[in-house]
Amino acid sequence: MGLLKRLLLVATGLILAVGAAAADTTVKWLHIEANPAQVKIWEEVARAYEAAHPGVRIEMQFLENEAYKAKLPTILQSKDRPHIIYSWAGGVLKAQIEAGVLEDITDQVKGYSDTITPAALAAFTQNGRVYGLPIALSQVGFLYNKELVAKANVDPAKIKTWDDLLAAVKALKAAGLTPIVVGGADKWPLHFYWTHLAVRIGGRAAFDAALRGENGGFEGETFQKSGELFKQLVDLQPFQNGFLGFKNPQAVGYFGDGKAAMTLAISTVYHLQRALAADKVGLGEDKIGWFDFPVVPGGKGEPTDTLGGITGWLITKGAPKEATDFLEFFISKDVQTKLATGNFLIPVVKGAEVGLNNAFMKQIADNLAKSNYHQNFYDQSLGPSVGRVVNDVTAEIAGGSMTPQQAATAIQAAWKQGN
């Protein structure tokens, strides 16, 4: 071959090689957001990032909440696992860090991490190393349908104690209404009752003691009592017909359709019920109200204690740098303010709260700010295995196949077995 031809070949080869190297990096993003309105904004952010960073593609994948929790362990084993995954922090995060499936992004987020509220960032940090970024805070409480409670002459503002709640349920039933809707099939919506009772009865002290194995651990007095009080509620038959077969999206839709008076849910349901209602409109702002979970007289918990989540995103091991980069872009003041304005979430970036223009959201943000003890969802904070046992046993109490005593014993046994 002549020299010219050889040079041409080499040149072509080089161009192809460079071309291949400059090819797209794909960032795989797995999320559980069921609200199409919010997903739309996320997609816009993704496209904006792609426009600003040519050669990077953001690929979004959706899994429903419960399906996500069930499949995540197997997904993380695959070499094709997504780069950005959703997280509720807590013990599950701890287990994931220990298993070595997450990427330590401390160095990459230096400087940026100062823009995030410290408490929120702390949830995603372990031993000083950061593994993900928070995106939102949320609180669990009672959402109620103003029209329906009025029909039964129930005034939610007066529901302060657990007994007040039981009385309200009885009144609603007497008026022929469905007092509470819950997604029993997914189990975790039921565990809110049990855990919030524990928060009210024993406060932070009881939880920490149980973790240390003191006072009989999760078989201790606080948790027995939680089960018993929960059973009191269950015995009133407050839930919708067939509640053990309702998945959470169905239950939220049911509330949005105006078929039940109350639901104990995460604050984000305020917005979500609009998307999941049959008419896609749901209950308007003026038709929904909120009251905090009632106190238990004699309980050691503070009325300001909150149960809820600090949710965010994790970067899995081996993810490209662009994944973290995109996350910083996504959890930025602009985007967070935009989402706050849309009342989709309570932001974690300092200064973005100004976007909250809605009385409801402002109140939740307020509650969270005032709280000294923000308990993360038990089924996440206790770790993957024990967490699911908590869900199982609360569902069994609700279904009548387990006594509160047995439930507490089961959780303690699972805790001892470890994750």
Partner: protein, 311 residues
């Protein structure tokens, strides 16, 4: 005279080993042995036999699947399994499935087979119709029936609505969920057993029946003393498949109830999936697998020994 093709590769007194070896190489028998057998053995050992051994091994650890198992806990996983309420529920449910299969499904299949083994207009269409549920995927069947049982939109619900009442959510009630699942199981499998019996009935020796007829036997007597005894081998087979199939049930239950509500409709395999795979408790899940394996193998051996001695 022993055929040429049966000549063994081992030496016999009749021919020298050297000749035999040369012959077996030249006619390619050796090549067949070396090329044709290993792939099957390799695949089978790697994906069927080893995993069972590994299940026994993993069941001794507390392991979440990442890296290698390190926390040896001996037989503790088995103890945990036996202490779990849901395990006993699953075991009970598998027992219920077997009972229903034997006491309801098989007699139904047999009755239908007796009617449909004849020849009349439309019999083939009927046979095919009844066999159809069997070839549908379990997962599709489960989904179809989750619609049928739905408390708001389902077929069952609409019957209640017709009477103006609010329909029960059968799949959401711990008392009725398992019953609902059992009905679906009968729906799905009776056709298969029916076809087995029809095949046997059609292959039956007619002269026996004629002889009995001539002796003055009535129809019921014919059935009891001639037909059914001839069917014993097929019935035994049918029972075997019923039980083995019942132990494996998974796909059907998942769309209906996922094993719920509150674990009331779990089968051993859904229990394994929910606890072993969904939570990546590999040791615990493997222990369940080993228990299931022991049940299957014990059953297979006992059954073959006691009931299928002449097979």
């Amino acid at each position: 005279m022993r055929g040429y093709s049966d000549a063994p590769l081992l030496a016999t007194a009749e021919s020298s080993p050297w000749l035999l070896a040369r012959r077996s190489i030249s006619d390619g028998r050796f090549a067949v042995l070396v090329l044709f057998l290993p792939p099957a053995l390799l695949l089978f050992t790697l994906f069927v036999v080893l995993p069972i051994g590994e299940a026994a091994w993993y069941s001794g650890f507390n392991w979440n699947g990442f890296g290698r198992p390190t926390a040896w806990i001996g037989l503790d996983n088995y103890r945990f399994v036996l202490e779990t309420h849901a395990f006993w529920l699953a075991l009970r449910n598998n027992g219920l499935i077997i009972a229903v299969s034997l006491l309801i499904q098989l007699p139904l299949a047999l009755t239908l087979a007796l009617i449909l083994a004849e020849r009349f207009r439309g019999v083939v269409a009927l046979r095919m119709l009844f066999f159809l549920p069997y070839i549908l995927a379990e997962i599709a069947t489960g989904l179809i029936f989750s619609f049928v049982y739905d408390g708001d939109y389902g077929l069952v619900a609409s019957i209640w609505h017709w009477f103006g009442a609010e329909a029960p959510h059968l799949l959401a009630n711990t008392q009725t969920a398992m019953v609902a699942v059992l009905i679906v199981i009968v729906w799905k499998y009776f056709g298969f057993h029916m076809m087995l019996y029809i095949a046997a009935l059609q292959g039956m020796d007619r002269s026996l029946i004629e002889a009995a007829r001539i002796d003055g036997a009535t129809r019921p007597q014919l059935l009891r003393y001639v037909v059914i005894p001839t069917l014993y081998p097929t019935i035994r087979l049918s029972v075997f498949f019923s039980i083995v199939g019942s132990l494996q049930l998974f796909d059907l239950v998942m769309p209906l109830t996922r094993g719920g509500p509150a674990d009331s409709s779990n089968t051993l395999v859904t229990f394994l999936y929910n606890n072993g795979i969904s939570r990546m408790r590999v040791g615990y899940g493997s222990a369940i697998g080993v228990i299931l394996f022991v049940i299957c193998v014990t059953f297979a051996f006992t059954y073959k020994r006691w009931f299928m001695r002449d097979e």
